[in-house]
Structures are given as C-alpha cells and as structure tokens.
Symmetry: C2
Subunit: 463 residues, 2 copies
C-alpha cells in the first residue's frame, strides 16, 4: 500500500478529468425530463467500474431509475466490502445564484481549498465521493493490493428517497451479501479534524396543498370575505412550532431518544466555534429549539423545515390576486427511535385538523427514512479509524450528523451488516445549494484512505 | 337617442371585432418585457378615439407608460364629461388555468351569458368597459346626439398603481377641466340588478423579503439550528391577524370609519345570498373578521391579504433545502379614512419589529391609493341613475365596492369634480383571474346606457 501516494501523484489529473466528465451529465433524479441523462450516467458508471477492475458490471433496471451493480470476487473465503453510493444529484435551482453553470465543472481555488475545489452539482454529493471508491479500486487492482472481495451498488434515486432500492435489495439479497457496507456520502469536521459519522437523522418529507375558492379571485372584491390560502397556510405552518421552537404535532416527541448528560457533555467537547459558524453563514444569531446547543439541534434533535412554499403571483411587480391555492414542501428530520411512517401519519392527521372549514387541505407524503446510529466498537469502525490515522495522522472523531441517508437503516435490517460512513466532504461544500464544490485535496485524500480501510478490515476480520 | 338600439343592432358585430383586436395586444404594464405592446395599444386607442369623432387625440408620454388623451369640444359653455379608463391589463398568470389563451379572445356561451361572453385578459378590466365609451361616443357623433363636450384620459398604469397619473394630471390641469368624471371600471350586482358604485377601498401594496443564512443550506446539516426564512415568514404573516381575523398592526384601525347601525342595516338589505356566494366559489364556509357580514367584510372593512409568496424549492419532487430567502407580496385594502401612506409606514415598522434576530427583513412599498366614497345627491349620480332606469327599467342600487381604483380620490382633489362609477361588469367576470370574461350583453348594455347619461347630465346640469 506504500505506493498509493505515488500512484495518486501520477494519475491525479486523469482522476479529476474523469470526475468532471461524470459531473457534466445532469443526472437530476427529481425531474422526469432528465431520464435519458440518468441512464447515460448509469452507463458511464458501469464502464468506469469495469475499467477499474470489476469482473462484472450491470445497469439493473428498477421500476424507477436503474441501479449500477458491479463486483470483483477474489475468493469466497475472503470478506466482502459492499460500496454504496449514488449517481443522481439534487436539482440545481436557483440557477442564478451559481457563479458557474452547475453542469460545467471547473476547478477554482478558495480560502479553504488553496489546492482548488471542483465546482459542480454533485461534485461532493455524491458523484465525487462515490468516484473516490472507483479510483481506490483501480489503484488496488492495478497494484495487486486488493485484499478482499468488493461489490458496488450505485443507485440513482437517493435524492428522491431511494424509492426502489428496498425492492432492489430484496430482489438481490444473495448477490449483495457482504461483511461490511462502506459509504462516502457524509462529511468530516474539518480538513485537519477527520471524523466518522456514527449517526444519521431520519426523514419524513410531505407536500401540502391548501385550496380556498375554486379560482383565483380579485383581492379587492373578495379580500376579507373569503379565505386566503396563503394566509391560512402561513398560520397552519406557524402553529406547527411553539415559542420555544418545539414542534407541536401531538405525539411527535414520543419516541425521541433522550441523550444522557454524559453523552451530551461528550458531544459538547467536539471542536466547534459558534462565532465562526455564524460568521460563515452571515447570521446575527442561530435559531432553534430552546434548551439545546447548535450541535445538538443539528444532530440529535428532530426538526420541521419548510423546504419550499409558493402560491399567488410571484412575478415582477404587483398583482392583487387572492389565490385559489397555496403549497408547501415540508420535511422533518427524525432521530432514534422515531418511525418515519408513524410521524408522517401524525403530521397528516394534525395538519388536516388545523385547517379551518373555509379551506380544503391535501397532504401528500413524498418519502422518508429511518434514523440510524452505529456503535464504534465494531471491526468496521476500528478499521476505518485506523485508516484515517494512517493518512491524516490523527484519530477520527465519531460524530452524529444531522443529515439523512434514508436507506442506511434498511441496509442493516436487510443485509445484516454494519455500515461505515467514511465521508470526506466539508460543511462548506454547499451540497444541495448553488456552487456545490468538493476540495481536490479531499477527493485525493479519500482515494488515499480507502485502500487502507480494505487492508485493515481484511486483516482484522480474519483475526 | 331613440336610435341607439337600432345602431347597436347594425354594428354589434363590428363593435365586438374591434374590441377583440384591442384584446389581442398583451398590454401588461407590470412586466417591462411588454413595453412595446403598451405603446402599440396606446396608439390603437388613440386612432379609435379619432375614428369615433374626437377632434384631437394624443399619446402623451409620461415617465412610465403613456396616457392617451383625446377630446371633442362642441361649445365652451356646455358642460364637459371626462372619461377615465385604462388600457393596461393584469398579468395573465397562472397560464395553465386558462381554458383559452389570454390574448386570443373568443366568444363563448356560459350559464350567466347565454348571449356569449368575450374571454380574454382585459375583456372586462378595463379594455371592454373602456371601449364602451368609445363606441357610445361614435354613436352620439354619428347621429348628432352628443349634447356636451367630452374628454378622454386613458392611462396605462392602473394595474401597477397609476404611478405617473398624478404627475400627468398636475401637468395638464387646465386641459382636464370638467364637470363630471365618468369611469366604467367596476361591476354591478347582477344583470337584472343594476347598481352604481359609491365607494372604493384604498390600497397599500408591499413586498417583503426575509433572509436567513447567506446561501441555501442542506436542511439535514443545518435544519433545526439555523433560522428557516419560510418558517419565520409564515410565523410573521400569521401574527398579522388574530383569532378573530382582526389585523394586529398597532394603529391600523385608528382612522377606520365605523358605519352607523342604520347604514349597516341599509347595506344588509342589498340582495345577497350567502348560499349562492359559497356555491359559486365552491367553498364550505366564508372566512373573515368576526362581527361583520360577508358584504361588510368585502366593502367597508380593511383587509390584509398575501397576494403571492415564494421561497425554497418549488419544482417537481422533493429537495431538502433550507432556503436563504423567502418572499411575500402583501396588500391591504383600506377604507375611509385610512391614509395609505401612513398604513404603509405602520406595516413596515411593525413587520420589521416582528423579525427575530436570526433573520434580516426588508419591506419594499410597491404602491397605494386612498379610499373613496361619493354622495348620491349629486347631479352626476342622479343622471347616471336615470340612465340605468331608462335602459334597465330599474333604479340602480348604490353600492360600496371592495375594490380599489387608487386614482379616484386624487381626481376629486386635483380636478375638483365628482366621479361617477358606472360599471357594467359582474362578479363572475374573473377579473385578475384566469378566464377573465365580459358578457356581450353587458358590453352592449353599457354602450346603450352611456349616451343617456350624457343627455340627462347635460339637461340636469343646465337646469
């Protein structure tokens, strides 16, 4: 494994170019218009996996976007690493806030990344992080350093709730058997503070529609006398949280795991500067549930956020319309042991009960996922920790993330193995936002660290 | 005047065709993209006024969209009627709710209009109603029935707050001198219940912007810890009204004229079926300020309506974004003696005070106008009433409308004359909404009634 640094030096320009090529395809899973681009991306991922040394690779059809499956089996008696990632990306809106087009990747130097960062939708989430694994495999196969079997499952629906992955996993249970699942779809605390994600929040995502009159009305002739769906929806949303930013849905907190004082104290020891945090976001104050710190609010506490809201006239200038309809997309991040299906039901029931009889309300559940927490005393975690120590010179910090990878808890349940979340992104990567980027240093560091995980995991597993 | 019905019979097809031609030009004053169409419409109106018998007509430049001015002076000793109307229209959004394209007028039969109605943006508001006056003038000049002087002032900024009309009026005070101002930009109770509008609400229109972090964030990584501008804006809007739908802005009601029990009782006598009203709008219940009837809520009470609201991801599917910004367009309808400039200030001050320190708020005043009430014992009102009696066979009901024509109170102040609001539209005309239309019967009835007003007004004025 001593040759990995040399190999990176010799190949880094090509590694960057290959990633850029992948980033040029707008694989937006949420928008049916990009169906062909989704297929094209899957085909490119498949051929890159074959190039990197997989014995077989396949674009597997599902009722939705396809899953790319590939494998290289050395020996049935050796352990198997299953790599999960996704080739789909978030929609790039709002486009006007991008400094360069989202699907024309460019490398630019930034304060945090003097070595340059790749700017493009999906640069970090998750094409960049997924592709680290492809290149790490290439290194291992080219240099005779692959110590175990490896399987890849790269899906195309992560950004829309992995709707058909459960179906795929159940259909392919035997083929997917493994000793550990390796995922790079999270971040670390800082470039000099490596961390491994040990928890993820769950998710319930719904869309609501409030209807007043059967048509848009003149706000002068009807205003004051007929319900305005935008005013009503604002009131309904406002009532979902109280003055302490506590969520008011009955039963919402019933299953929430309360951390012990000891656990909270340990969390508080993680390096974090509130001043830095506020400065980076250009805010005068943070905002959240009373009684919890910012780190706690963003990881161990559930949330309710409006992700989008619209209705009435939203063009230039003024229009005195009393709209017929108002809409909102609302997501709730969940923590152990909240059941997203139950929470979705509680939301729906409560939201419907909030509506005055002057409007009609529809709640449409989009998707969801269970929260996940992993112990740190497993072989997988220890191998990952050792790999980071090797390449960063520091023991990584176990960290619970506020994000969600809804499918993670399903992996554990269906495939009966532990998941290791080795993320190399940073908070500043602007994933899901305009100007998403991924540090070139982080990309290469990921490729450097992954083979060490394979080595240590195989060694420790065989002991 | 006995020949007006015959003249209508002979010319009604042409009258419809001419109106359709005007409706085909998308004169959307709110959108700078339609500047050329605005100019084109002004030119067409000018040439139609000349065709109808005006001695002079002119497209007068203003710092905004031009005003068309025209006149026919018979004799300086005769009284002068000043006709006001507007050639601009509301934006047609949302386009997908139109059954036929908004700028391709078609005549279709409806339940209310078995004779057909013209469907197009501006059909009623105000191209159709404005053009009735042009055709009434044509009849009078062609048949030697014009009894007095007439002036036309047709503006292009009514739908955006008549921003430059005050300037125009002050610049042209002498030229605009008149004995009465005649406007058809309102409605009547029903085809068989003629009414004359005696009051209009004022207006204050503002746009608000709430900013959280300096960029869109991932709702998993930041959700719960950083203010969500959509949640915050919803809370701020919700707090603008209380549980009785009373507006909570301090000082908002200070200048509101309270009607006497007698006046309210008289209002309650107007023909109105709540059941019909709810059925037409397909609502289970009305919604408004506690202690007032639907008719009162929509005419003599002030309101606060969100006319548009947007932020975050509003496309297909799901996006877990914590948006940086949220926006709303908010209008308040005002009643005597509320001062729109003062109300705008009160709103701004209060709204800014509502914002938590985790967000920043901007309030941008758009435009506004004063409320207006006119007495019914004037020569103008009596002449109009007599004209309706002649053509409808019924005395029209004086009615206060909930709509606003912000410029009306200015006319009274600057030109020192009374305004007569002879509207021929119906509530069901869907002005400002998709599928705006104007009954062919109403259009022709307007052209038939207007010359009688000229006759009676001149006679009564000279007595």
């Amino acid at each position: 494994m001593s040759t990995i640094k040399e190999y990176l030096d010799q190949n880094k320009d090509r590694f960057l170019e290959e990633l850029k090529e992948l980033l040029r395809i707008p694989s937006i899973s949420a928008d049916p218009e990009y169906k062909q681009d989704m297929l094209k991306t899957a085909e490119v991922v498949k051929s890159r996996l074959l190039d990197a040394g997989c014995d077989t690779a396949e674009v597997c059809e599902t009722p939705g976007h396809p899953v790319v499956y590939a494998e290289k089996i050395l020996d049935k008696d050796l352990p198997t690493v299953l790599v999960y990632g996704h080739y789909d990306v978030q929609p790039p809106d709002p486009l006007d806030l991008w400094d360069s087009p989202p699907f024309e990747p460019v490398v630019k130097k930034t304060d945090i990344h003097p070595e340059g960062a790749i700017f493009a939708r999906g640069a970090c989430d998750d094409k960049g992080q997924m592709y680290m694994h492809v290149k790490a495999l290439e290194y291992m196969t080219q240099n005779g350093e692959l110590p175990c079997n490896v399987k890849f499952m790269i899906e195309g629906e992560e950004e829309v709730g992995s709707e058909h992955l459960e179906w795929f996993i159940k259909e392919n249970k035997d083929r997917l058997q493994n000793e550990v699942i390796l995922i790079s779809d999270t971040g670390m605390i800082a470039k000099d503070v490596p961390s491994i994600t040990t928890g993820l929040r769950g998710l319930s995502y719904v869309e609501v529609e409030v209807t007043g009159a059967n048509r848009d009305l003149h706000s002068g002739l009807y205003g004051g006398a007929v319900a305005n769906p935008l005013n009503v929806l604002s009131q309904m949303i406002a009532s979902l949280t109280d003055e302490n930013n506590h969520i008011t849905i009955p039963g919402f907190y019933d299953q929430v795991e309360e951390l012990s004082e000891e656990e909270r104290q340990k969390m508080a020891e993680a390096p974090f500067s509130l001043e830095e945090y506020q400065k980076k976001l250009d805010i005068n104050n943070v905002h959240g549930e009373k009684g919890y710190s910012t780190l706690e609010r963003a990881s161990i506490r559930p949330t309710l956020d409006v992700n989008g809201m619209w209705g009435g006239y939203i063009g230039e200038g003024a229009k005195t319309v009393l709209p017929s309809k108002a809409y909102a997309k609302i997501s709730m991040r969940l923590v152990p042991d909240q059941d997203w299906k139950k929470i979705t039901e509680l939301f729906q029931k409560h939201f419907e009960s909030l509506a005055p009889d002057s409007v009609r309300v529809k709640v449409k559940p989009h998707h969801g996922g269970y929260p996940y927490v992993t112990p740190i005393d497993t072989v997988g975690y220890q191998a990952a920790s050792k790999a980071y120590e090797k390449t960063f010179g520091k023991t990584p910090i176990p960290q619970r993330s506020g994000g969600s990878i809804p499918i993670v808890s399903l992996f554990e349940k269906e495939l009966d193995s532990k998941i290791i979340l080795m993320g190399f992104g940073l908070d500043t990567d602007a994933i899901h936002s305009p100007n998403e980027n991924f540090g070139v240093w982080n990309y290469l560091k990921g490729i450097e660290t992954i083979p060490w995980f394979y080595k240590y995991f195989t060694e420790m597993h065989q002991q």
